[in-house]
C-alpha cells in the first residue's frame, strides 16, 4: 500500500505531469507504475481482472454506491458526482490534491492543443453553470477552468442563471465581440447547444461571429428526451453563430474520467455523424470486442478509456459507451443498453418501483 506522501506517488505524479506537457516520457513505464499503484492500493483489482479474464477497465457501475479512492491518509480535495439521469444512485469520483492537479493540467493542456490553439484571449461563453452554482459537476468545473485560463476575463462568462439561459446577456456579449472583431469560444453541454440554438432561432437572433470563433460541446445526448445527429447540431451552430462545422468541436468526458477526448478530425464516421476522438500519450480510448473483450482496431465494441491523469483510482475505465474503432481513433456512438430481459421474460427494470 502506497501512502499519499510516498515518493513513489509523488514521483509518478511528476512523470504524468511531464507526459501531459508533451515531454519525452516513456508512456509504458508510466502505465506500469499506475498499475503497480493500483495493485498495491486496491489489491482486489487483481481478483477483478481474474474474474473478467483480462485487465479490463473498471465498470462505470463501480462509481455507484461505493467509490474507490486509494489514499485513506489524504482526504479528498474534491468530489464530482454524476447527474444520475437514470434515477439510480448518483456516482461519485474523489480527487486528492495531486489528482486534482493532474486533472487541471490535463484539462488546460488538452484545451490549449485542441480548442484554443492560436487564439489569444478570446471571449469564452459557457452554456454550463458556474462552479459555485454546481460545485460537483465536472463539466462546470472543466469549462470554467478553460475560461479562466484562456479567456478575456472582462468579457467571458457563464450565461446560465437559476432561471435558465440569460439570452439578453448572451446577445450583448456576442454583439460586442462582433463589433470588436474578437473571436468567441462557446462551451457547453451538447443538449444545451441544441436548446439554445432552437431558442435563438425562435427569437430570430443569429450572428456571424468573428473569424476564428469556435464551439465545444460535450456530454452527448445520453438520457435525453431527444437524440440529435452530431451533424445536425453542427449545422445549427453554423446557422446560429456563423461558425463553420470544422470549428464546431465535440469533446467526450465523464465524471469518471479526469481527462477529455477531443475530435481527431472532421470525418463523420459514426451512425449519427460522430467523429473519431484523438488519442494522446496520456489518454487513450480503445474498443473491446463485444464477444471476446479483446482490443480491436476496427468495428463496434465497448469503449475503454485509459486516462493516465487518474491517480486516485484505477486509471482504465469501461465507460458503458459503444465505440467505433477506426484508424483515426474511436468514435463514441451511443450507450450500451442496460437492464433488459430477452424473450417473453419481463424486465424488472420496466416495472421497478
Amino acid at each position: 500500500m502506497f501512502r499519499y506522501k510516498d515518493p513513489f506517488v509523488q514521483n509518478l505524479a511528476e512523470q504524468i505531469a511531464a507526459l501531459i506537457s508533451g515531454e519525452a516520457i516513456d508512456r509504458e513505464s508510466v502505465e506500469q507504475a499506475l498499475e503497480e499503484l493500483a495493485l498495491a492500493n486496491l489489491p482486489q483489482l487483481a481478483d477483478y481482472w481474474r474474474k473478467t479474464g483480462c485487465r479490463l477497465g473498471i465498470p462505470d457501475a463501480a462509481f455507484k454506491n461505493s467509490h474507490v479512492y486509494y489514499f485513506p491518509d489524504q482526504p479528498a480535495a474534491r468530489v464530482f458526482r454524476t447527474s444520475g439521469t437514470s434515477g439510480a444512485d448518483r456516482g461519485a469520483a474523489c480527487y486528492s490534491p495531486l489528482g486534482l492537479k493532474l486533472m487541471d493540467l490535463s484539462i488546460i493542456e488538452n484545451a490549449r492543443r485542441h480548442l484554443i490553439q492560436e487564439l489569444d484571449m478570446p471571449v469564452i461563453i459557457r452554456f454550463v453553470p458556474t462552479v459555485s452554482q454546481a460545485p460537483e459537476m465536472i463539466m462546470a468545473y472543466g469549462m470554467e477552468l478553460i475560461a479562466t485560463t484562456f479567456g478575456d476575463k472582462s468579457r467571458s462568462a457563464s450565461v446560465i442563471t437559476g432561471n435558465g439561459v440569460d439570452f439578453e446577456r448572451l446577445r450583448s456579449i456576442l454583439d460586442q465581440a462582433v463589433s470588436d472583431d474578437q473571436p468567441v469560444v462557446l462551451l457547453g453541454g451538447s443538449f444545451a447547444f441544441v436548446n439554445i440554438c432552437d431558442a435563438l432561432e425562435k427569437l430570430g437572433w443569429s450572428w456571424q461571429l468573428p473569424e476564428g470563433s469556435r464551439t465545444l460541446d460535450g456530454g452527448g445526448f445520453k438520457g435525453r428526451s431527444r437524440v440529435v445527429r452530431a451533424g445536425e447540431l453542427r449545422s445549427a451552430i453554423t446557422k446560429t453563430f456563423g461558425i463553420p462545422a470544422g470549428r464546431a468541436f465535440n469533446v467526450f468526458g465523464m465524471t469518471e474520467l479526469a481527462s477529455q477526448l477531443y475530435d481527431a478530425n472532421d470525418r463523420e464516421i459514426g451512425p449519427l455523424d460522430e467523429r473519431p476522438k484523438r488519442n494522446l500519450p496520456f489518454l487513450q480510448a480503445r474498443v473491446r470486442d463485444s464477444y471476446t473483450l479483446a482490443y480491436c482496431d476496427r468495428g463496434e465494441g465497448l469503449v475503454e478509456i485509459m486516462d493516465s491523469c487518474i491517480i486516485d483510482r484505477p486509471h482504465r475505465v469501461l465507460t458503458g459507451d459503444l465505440g467505433l474503432a477506426s484508424e483515426d481513433g474511436v468514435a463514441i456512438i451511443g450507450r450500451v443498453e442496460r437492464g433488459q430481459a430477452r424473450g417473453c421474460s419481463l424486465s424488472l427494470e420496466s416495472i421497478k418501483f
Binding site: L42, Q44, L45, D47, Y48, R50, K51, T52, G53, L56, I58, P59, D60, A61, A62, N65, S66, V68, R288, S290, Y291, L293, E300, G301, L302, L318, G320, L322, V336, E337, R338, G339, Q340, A341, R342, G343, C344, S345, L346, S347, L348, E349, S350, I351, K352, F353
Partner: protein, 481 residues
C-alpha cells in the same frame, strides 16, 4: 440446402390476385437473405376473412376427434428429430434466433410433445368436462339439459418473443375450439408458424384452409385495425407495451386473451437443499435456466436460496458446473451483438461487485458467454435476464422470498418451490394468492403441460361460448325414456 425464405402460409383457396409478396423488414444480424412474406392486399381482408369463416364452418362439421387425431399425427412427425421438415424448420429457427441447433431441438422437444392426442384430450376434458360438446349438444346432467360449446368464427393470434415452437400452442388451442386462425408472426422468430400450418394442411387440407399466417410491423396500426375488425377472438402475446397497444384497439372484439411478459423465479429451502443435495438441485436449476435459453416467461430470472453466504456460494459453485455441463450439451448459440454488449457490461459490473464492492456477492461465468451466475443481494439488484443469466439471492427464509416477490405479484408466472410438506402447501397457497399461475419443483419449470392454466386462464374454454338447452319438457321426456 437453401433455407425456404417464406414465413407465411396462405390457404389454397385464396386467389393470388388478392395477395402481395414482399421482403419482411426483419433485421437479422446473423446474416442471410431477407424473409419473404405474403399477405392479403389491404382492401382484401374482409373477403379473405369471409373465406376463413367458411373454413370454420367446415371445422365445425368435423368431429373434434378428427381434429385431435390430425394434430396428433402431425405432432408425431414433428417429434421426430430426423423428420426433414423439422430439420428445415430447425435451421430456419437457428438462423432467425441465433439459438444453437441443440437448443432449438431441445425447445421443439419440450414444446411439441404437448400436442399429442393424450395431452389434447386431457386439456379438453379438464377445461370442458365433455369434449363432445364441441361437436354439438350433449347431455348435461347438472343443468339439467344439454349444452353445446361453440368457438369463434375467426381468431387472430399475435405472436411475440423467440421461444422456438411456441406459436403452435395458440394455433392448436384455436383449432381445438374449431376456429379459423389468422396468425401474425413475430420478428424475433417469424419462421415456425407457417411451417407448422403447412404440416397440418398436408395432413388435412381442410385444416390448412382455416389457417393464414403472415406478418406486419408493429407500426402498421391501420392494418392491425382492419384485421381486428374481422376477428371474433384475439390472442395477444407481447411486452406490457405491445399488449397494451393491441388491447386498446381490441375493445370491440368479443374475446381478448393476453399472454404478456411475465416474471418467474425459483425458491430453494434449507431442508430441501439438504435432502436433495446441492449437486442435484444445481442440475435442475441449470435445466430451468438453460431451456429456451431462458427466453420463455416460465424461465426463472432468479432463484432465492434459503441459507447463509457459504451455502449460497456452495450452490453457486455446483451450479457453475451444472451450467457448463448443460452448455456443452445444449450450447446457447450466437448472441446478438447488442445482447453481448449488455451482458459484458453487466458481467463487468458484477465482477467488480464480487471482488471489490461487496464480499457477499459472487459471479461465475464461462468465457464463451454461454452462461452467467450472479449472487445478488435482492431483486432490486437484479436487472439482466435471458440468455442464461441467473441471479441467486440469499434469503433467511422462503417467506422472505415471497415477500420480495409481492410487488411483482400481477406479473408472477411460474414458481419452482424447492420445499417439502407441510411447508410446500403453506408457501404454495401464499404464492397463488400473490399471483403465481404455476408451481412446480425445481428442474421442471420449462416444461409446463398443456393442461396448465396458462397465465391462470382456461385457454381453450376461454375461446368458447356456450348454448344450453334447459327448461324444455320435450327434452326431458326424451331423456327419461
Amino acid at each position: 440446402m437453401p433455407t425456404n425464405r417464406n414465413i407465411s402460409w396462405i390457404p389454397a383457396w385464396v386467389d393470388a390476385s388478392q395477395l402481395e409478396t414482399f421482403n419482411a423488414n426483419i433485421i437479422n444480424d446473423q446474416g442471410g437473405q431477407p424473409w419473404r412474406c405474403t399477405r392479403p392486399l389491404s382492401d382484401r381482408w374482409s373477403v379473405i376473412a369471409d373465406g376463413l369463416r367458411e373454413s370454420t364452418a367446415a371445422l365445425r362439421a368435423m368431429p373434434i376427434a378428427h381434429i385431435v387425431e390430425t394434430i396428433d399425427k402431425v405432432t408425431a412427425k414433428w417429434c421426430d428429430r430426423n423428420w426433414p421438415v423439422r430439420q428445415a424448420a430447425r435451421a430456419a429457427v437457428v438462423e432467425a434466433t441465433g439459438f444453437s441447433a441443440e437448443a432449438v431441438d431441445r425447445s421443439f422437444d419440450v414444446e411439441l410433445k404437448n400436442y399429442r392426442a393424450d395431452s389434447l384430450w386431457r386439456v379438453l376434458y379438464r377445461e370442458l368436462g365433455d369434449a363432445a360438446a364441441l361437436d354439438g349438444f350433449v347431455a348435461d346432467a347438472r343443468l339439467p339439459g344439454r349444452t353445446y360449446a361453440i368457438g369463434p368464427e375467426l381468431t387472430l393470434a399475435i405472436f411475440t418473443g423467440n421461444v422456438p415452437g411456441l406459436p403452435a400452442l395458440s394455433m392448436v388451442r384455436a383449432l381445438l375450439a374449431k376456429s379459423a386462425v389468422i396468425a401474425k408472426v413475430a420478428s424475433g422468430e417469424p419462421t415456425f408458424a407457417a411451417r407448422f400450418a403447412a404440416s397440418l394442411a398436408e395432413e388435412d387440407a381442410r385444416i390448412g384452409d382455416a389457417l393464414l399466417v403472415t406478418y406486419w410491423e408493429r407500426h402498421e396500426r391501420d392494418l392491425l385495425k382492419t384485421v381486428l375488425s374481422q376477428a371474433e377472438a384475439v390472442i395477444a402475446y407481447g411486452s406490457i407495451e405491445a399488449c397494451r397497444s393491441v388491447r386498446e384497439l381490441a375493445r370491440d372484439n368479443r374475446i381478448y386473451m393476453e399472454h404478456g411478459h411475465k416474471f418467474s423465479a425459483g425458491l430453494v429451502g434449507r431442508d430441501y437443499l439438504a435432502r436433495v443435495g446441492a449437486p442435484v438441485i444445481a442440475g435442475r436449476i441449470a435445466e430451468d435456466v438453460g431451456t429456451f435459453n431462458q427466453h420463455a416467461c416460465i424461465a426463472p430470472q432468479v432463484y432465492f436460496v434459503e441459507g447463509d453466504r457459504a451455502a449460497v456460494h456452495k450452490l453457486g459453485d455446483e451450479l457453475s458446473r451444472a451450467m457448463q455441463a448443460y452448455a456443452e450439451k445444449y450450447p446457447l448459440g450466437n448472441l446478438r451483438l447488442k445482447d453481448a454488449q449488455t451482458l459484458q457490461l453487466q458481467r463487468a459490473a458484477q465482477a467488480w461487485k464480487a471482488t471489490v464492492a461487496d464480499a457477499d456477492s459472487g459471479l461465475w461465468q464461462d468465457s464463451a458467454l454461454n452462461w452467467t451466475i450472479a449472487i445478488e443481494k435482492d431483486l432490486a439488484e437484479h436487472s439482466l435476464s435471458g440468455n442464461r443469466y441467473i441471479g441467486l439471492i440469499p434469503v433467511d427464509s422462503l417467506e422472505q422470498a415471497l415477500k420480495a416477490l409481492r410487488p411483482y405479484g400481477e406479473f408472477l408466472q411460474n414458481l419452482a418451490l424447492g420445499a417439502d410438506e407441510p411447508e410446500l402447501s403453506v408457501l404454495a397457497r401464499r404464492a397463488a394468492l400473490l399471483g403465481a399461475s404455476r408451481i412446480c419443483q425445481p428442474g421442471r419449470m420449462a416444461e409446463p403441460s398443456m393442461m396448465w392454466h396458462h397465465d391462470g386462464q382456461m385457454c381453450v374454454a376461454g375461446l368458447l361460448r356456450w348454448c344450453d338447452i334447459e327448461m324444455h319438457d320435450a327434452l326431458h321426456e326424451q331423456e327419461e325414456q
